[in-house]
């Protein structure tokens, strides 16, 4: 509700003007039955042809003026709805950009995307409907009642009785229907899940000959969904017939009581016609209102989902550097971990436990360990993608919390485990590393990443198109391009997170040789499963279930660290035997 109201407040002028013009239009609509009553009572009964012409002229005039008010109202409401939705979208996008890794993990990508797209669209429709229709219907309903009072207070009491009754029906069906429809929607999610799972696992499903049981599983969820839909349908199918009954019984009652009133000379025949017409208008408006209320409730729900995102505090706090911090010199170590412990949100045991090490400038640090031993977690703390719970991570002599996160990350080149590229060209992807890089610099990076050959073979070379997520490239090509992207910025610290896994041994070896020759002598962190990739490192950290079980050079570790020796032997026993 908060977000919904905020949208309305963004355009205060339009939010007031749109319903105001709608009100004017509604007032003109309400005048029509009165004019018709006058035609009957004064024109026809008074045998006044000129008056009939005049009154019909008034009807035409009312139509024109009503059109003018309506168009003005539509313009203001379109402006307010579209404008506030656009602002909301921007706010969301900017807010999500400042999310930390932990927040992204918690939200989940697909949920973030639906909020920015379909939720905001629903909100836009809701605001538009509210300004245009929702306010019009109560005006007409109550307006009709007030007009009834101007005709005859006694007969108007029928309106007073019918309207709350109608309200109870409309809102009752809605309140009863909303939870039912939520259930239907949840069931649909299940149908989606079964379908998606079946499609993504075609090979296993067929290899294990599970087609039959998959069909049964689908049939079950599908049937469940249908029966829920029918159940919800029975309730909503009630609304129109019941409102029809109430309104028309009220009409019958109006005629009966009207007959007495006319008999006693209280009102005229034309006025009875007017009262019947007012009752008819209420029915039309109620049907409209029911559909628009559904839309608006949905919009409010979507607004709440958006609000939940905006309420999440974004960004990371930057603490100023403590006084007396020495200005970093050439001797200041590049990265220092001091008793670092880190636990993921919702993860029971710490993923990193009491890690301490120092990486001097220009060093190559290898990190090795089993699946889930904390290798990626360790390097993610250096650019402050996650925060350490205990201990400090320092880069160039300062704790990472003292840097502006963007500035910190610009000096660090990261090649993530999963190669991610973006729609555009080879060039546009590489420029992520450094916006102002020249072609020469780009080729230099491509050469070092062993990607120059295949880029040169592509049509357009640097301008060769890259599809979303780099779908038109092979796994190895993607990895090499992401490496090149990190190298373009000539980072002072380079992190390669198992980035050569899709490369064959020959290319991997060439890549490692090129990395050793990099200009600027960056500090390099290499995560790998293979000892061959890191054996030349100045420092190797062996991780096992979040703890550093060995630290040293290849030779030292072979002598002193059993885990390392086992890893090494598991890979080389075959070859060296």
């Amino acid at each position: 509700m908060k977000i919904f109201l905020r949208c309305l407040r963004m355009y205060p002028k339009e939010t007031i003007l749109a319903p105001l013009f709608k009100l004017l239009e509604a007032c003109f609509d309400l005048c029509v039955p009165l004019v018709v009553a006058a035609i009957i009572d004064k024109g026809i009964k008074g045998n006044d042809t000129a008056l009939v012409w005049q009154l019909c002229g008034v009807l035409v005039l009312l139509a024109f003026v009503g059109l003018g008010w309506a168009i003005t109202a539509q313009y203001f409401s379109a402006k307010a709805a579209v404008g506030s939705a656009a602002r909301m979208r921007r706010e969301l996008f900017a807010h999500m950009q400042s999310f930390t890794y932990a927040q992204t993990d918690r939200m989940g990508t697909s949920s973030m995307i639906t909020r920015m797209t379909s939720d905001v669209n629903q909100l836009q429709t809701g605001v538009n409907i509210t300004l245009r229709l929702l306010l019009r219907s109560p005006i007409i309903v109550f307006g009709a009642m007030i007009m009834a009072f101007t005709i005859d207070a006694g007969l108007a009491l029928i309106f007073v009785a019918a309207i709350p009754l109608l309200a109870v029906v409309v809102f009752g069906v809605m309140l009863g229907g909303i939870p039912l429809y939520r259930k239907v929607q949840n069931r649909l999610d299940r149908v989606t899940a079964v379908t998606r799972e079946n499609l993504s696992g075609v090979r296993p499903v067929r290899a294990f000959r599970k087609e039959g049981s998959e069909i049964d599983r689908f049939a079950a969820v599908n049937r469940e969904q249908t029966s829920l839909q029918n159940k919800a349908g029975i309730l909503t199918a009630v609304m129109n017939p019941v409102t029809y009954v109430i309104v028309n019984l009220a009409v019958i009652l109006l005629i009966r009581q009207g007959a007495f009133a006319v008999h006693e000379g209280g009102i005229t025949q034309g006025q009875v016609v007017a009262l019947v017409n007012y009752m008819g208008q209420i029915l039309v408006e109620l049907v409209k209102m029911a559909t628009s209320i559904f839309t608006v409730t949905k919009a409010v729900a979507c607004g709440n989902r958006i609000g939940a995102v905006l309420d999440m505090p974004a960004g990371m706090a930057v603490t100023p550097a403590p006084d007396g911090t020495p200005i970093p010199s050439a001797d200041t170590p590049a990265v220092v971990f001091d008793k670092v412990t880190m636990t993921y949100e919702g993860g029971g045991a710490p993923s990193l436990h009491d890690i301490s090490f120092t990486a001097k400038r220009g060093m190559t640090v290898g990190i090795i360990g089993g699946t889930g031993s904390g290798k990626t977690t360790l390097v993610n703390l250096i650019p402050r993608f996650y925060e350490a719970d205990e201990g400090t991570v320092s880069v160039f002599g300062l704790p990472v919390q003292c840097y502006d996160p963007e500035a910190l990350r610009e000096s660090i080149g990261v090649v993530p485990q999963k190669a991610e590229l973006f729609k555009g060209t080879v060039r546009s992807n590489l420029l992520w590393g450094k916006e102002t890089a020249t072609d020469e610099e780009l080729w230099e990076a491509l050469e070092a990443a062993q990607a120059a050959d295949f880029v040169r073979e592509k049509e357009g070379q640097l301008d060769a198109p890259v599809e979303q997520k780099g779908r038109n490239l092979s796994g190895g090509q993607k990895q090499r391009l992401t490496i090149a992207r990190a190298l373009v910025g000539k980072p002072e610290i380079l992190i390669l997170d198992d980035s050569a896994s899709a490369l064959d041994f020959a290319t991997d070896a060439k890549l490692r040789a090129a990395l050793r020759e990099l200009a600027g002598d960056p500090t390099v962190f290499i995560i790998s499963q293979r000892t061959s990739s890191i054996r030349a490192a100045d420092l190797i950290i062996v991780l096992d279930e979040g703890r550093a079980v060995g630290m040293g050079t290849h030779e030292e570790l072979l002598r002193s660290c059993e885990v390392y020796r086992e890893i090494h032997e598991s890979q080389f026993k075959g070859g060296e035997a």
């Binding site: 656009a86 089993g370 993530p416 064959d504």
Partner: protein, 587 residues
């Protein structure tokens, strides 16, 4: 345009086939609609008659009025009841048709060739089964509830109006198309704006999808400002075009209402003039005029609704067409009725002159020959994307060879049932796949009747028992979609455990241990080695240490087998394999 029209008709015919299942309900719904529309239209006549009995003070005919009003009450109640029943049967028909459509689509997916499914993103097919079917439901329901009653109302009103007065009816019939004309005039103008809007929206969604989907990469490269700049540019364009589209499309209602108001004024004028001119003949009473005015309002309303419904129906037919595309997609060639059932498989596999390509213009595998005795081991090595997985696709008959043949135990695999062939293969793929369910269900995927002891034994053999026991509910832990929070390596261990439970005579291991750390891998390799004894095995690996023991090594590059032989011969040959082998020991 004409093409589109015939397509819509063709789709409509197919939808009608599905309606056949609900023949009775459908007829009932039609009958109820006729009753509802008829009675709804009769009611204004009744009220008109009643009003004519209330002329002036002292001139009210109470005796005639009471039965008239009583009849009104009965009619109202019957109408409401019929309307309710009609709504319910419409719901049943629509939801039923959609359920059948979905079911048929899903059944069809199970027999579609992999070449069809591989070519299309999963999301596309899912959106056909889910979103398109949903949109179709909405359209069909709206079509039922509004299109049909709308047309009946127009026809009925026309009849009733004719019984009341001819000149006024002529005026209404002549003037009403004006509102349709206005509506279609605006719709044509807004169509382009809406197209532009959905294009811009798609552009923005793509950007959001990329930047949010790869949020971690955006953060890592401090790319936030650039992303926001791109976003703002598109967002601004979207706002402009949306505002225009929303505004212009919202003009339809006031404009048609305006035309209707003019028609109404005309009716009032003509009616009043008739009343005035032949007051004596009583061809038109005041009550009649009041009824006519109600009809004039009712007559124009369905026109507005129907133009909306037609767009909606067209849209929903487009969705149905996408769904039918799936339901009617060509299936795999079914197993021949006389297809052999592979039993007591020995595991002799022979590939003779096999050629295969995914697209005719890009030949991939050519003239591949390979003869394996029972229990032999083949390793397929080569750089990424060289066609290793293709060989497996052919062995399992996920794809059929283009030329040549593959035989198992001397029978061409195209002459045996797919199920019996696949039953004799056990496979672990690089891309793990787990279904939503418990750990136990997932391990017992190939043999749901396995006992708990067997499941645990299989997990132990795959070195998965340890981590499974550490899960909150052990073997009963429910995994989310695609394994939920398990690591890639853990998922792979579960897939391997599946294999240990089935133990078929032939094995396929496609990078089966790629995500598992090398220490665990070494232990699994030992288990695999025991497993492979006496079983014909195909192993795809890029870690060469695992392939050394193989009887035959196929070295592939760019889809071709460039070298073939055992480890020793290939090393001596000093070719591509020797180069690959050497490179893994370089520091």
């Amino acid at each position: 345009m004409k093409q589109k029209h015939t397509n819509t008709l063709a789709t409509m015919k197919k939808v009608l086939r599905y309606l056949k299942h609900y023949r009775l309900l459908f007829v009932l719904s039609l009958l109820l609609a006729v009753v509802v529309v008829g009675l709804t239209l009769y009611l204004p006549i009744l009220t008109g008659d009643a009003i004519d009995l209330i002329i002036a003070p002292g001139q009210v005919d109470f005796e005639a009025l009471s039965p008239l009003l009583l009849r009104g009450v009965v009619i109202i109640c019957i109408t409401a009841l019929c309307q309710w029943l009609m709504n319910i049967s419409n719901n049943r028909i629509t939801f039923g048709v959609v359920r059948r459509l979905r079911q048929d689509a899903f059944v069809r997916i199970q027999s579609l060739p992999l070449s069809y499914l591989d070519r299309r993103p999963v999301g596309d097919t899912v959106s056909r089964v889910i979103a398109d079917a949903d949109q179709f439901t909405d359209g069909l329901l709206m079509g039922f509830s509004q299109f049909f009653t709308g047309i009946l109302t127009i026809l009925g009103t026309l009849c009733f109006m004719l019984t009341l007065n001819l000149p006024m009816t002529v005026w209404v019939v002549v003037a009403t198309p004006l509102s349709l004309f206005v509506a279609s005039f605006i719709a044509k103008r807004t169509y382009n704006l809406f197209k532009k809007q959905s294009e811009t929206r798609a552009e923005q969604t793509a950007l959001i999808d990329e930047m949010i989907g790869s949020h971690k990469a955006v953060v890592a490269f401090a790319h936030e400002d650039e992303a926001l700049r791109d976003f703002d540019e598109i967002n601004g364009r979207l706002e402009t075009v949306s505002r225009k589209a929303v505004f212009f499309s919202s003009l339809v209602n006031p404009s048609t209402r305006f035309v209707n108001n003019l028609v109404y004024a005309g009716v009032a004028l003509i009616g009043a003039l008739i009343c005035l001119s032949d007051a004596g003949n009583l061809t038109l009473t005041v009550g009649g005029l009041s009824a006519f005015l109600t009809y004039a309002g009712q007559y124009t309303k369905p026109f507005n609704e129907i133009s909306g419904v037609v767009t909606e129906l067209q849209n929903s037919m487009a969705c149905a067409a996408r769904l039918f595309e799936l339901i009617e997609a060509e299936t795999e060639i079914p197993d021949a009725p006389d297809a052999a059932v592979l039993t007591d498989c020995e595991g002799r596999v022979e590939l003779s002159d096999v050629s295969f390509s995914y697209t005719p213009d890009k030949p991939l595998i050519q003239d591949l020959n390979l003869a394996l005795e029972s229990g032999q081991r083949v390793a397929i090595v080569g750089p990424t994307g060289c066609g290793k997985t293709t060989v497996i696709n052919l062995l399992m008959r996920f794809y059929d060879v283009c030329d040549g043949s593959i035989q198992v135990d001397g029978t061409d695999i195209r002459n045996m049932t797919r199920h019996s062939l696949r039953e004799n293969y056990g496979m672990v793929l690089q891309e793990t796949w787990l279904s939503a369910g418990t750990v136990r269900d997932n391990i017992a995927f190939g043999r749901p009747d396995a006992s708990d002891e067997e499941v645990v034994a299989a997990a132990k053999a795959a070195h998965a028992d340890g981590f499974i026991r550490r899960l909150p509910e052990g073997y009963g832990t429910v995994l989310g979609e695609d394994g939920g929070s398990l690591s890639q390596g853990q998922k792979q261990l579960l897939c391997i455990a599946r294999l240990f439970l089935c133990l078929p005579p032939m094995l396929i291991l496609d990078e089966a241990t790629s995500s598992i750390d090398t220490r665990t891998e070494l232990r699994i390799q030992n288990a695999f080695a025991a497993l492979m004894k006496g079983r014909t095995s195909f192993i795809v690996a890029h870690r060469l240490s695992t392939v050394k023991e193989a009887d035959v090594i196929l070295v592939m590059k760019d889809g071709h087998v460039i070298e073939q032989g055992d480890h020793k011969t290939l090393l001596e040959k000093g070719g591509f394999y020797a180069e690959l082998w050497g490179s893994q020991f370089e520091a």
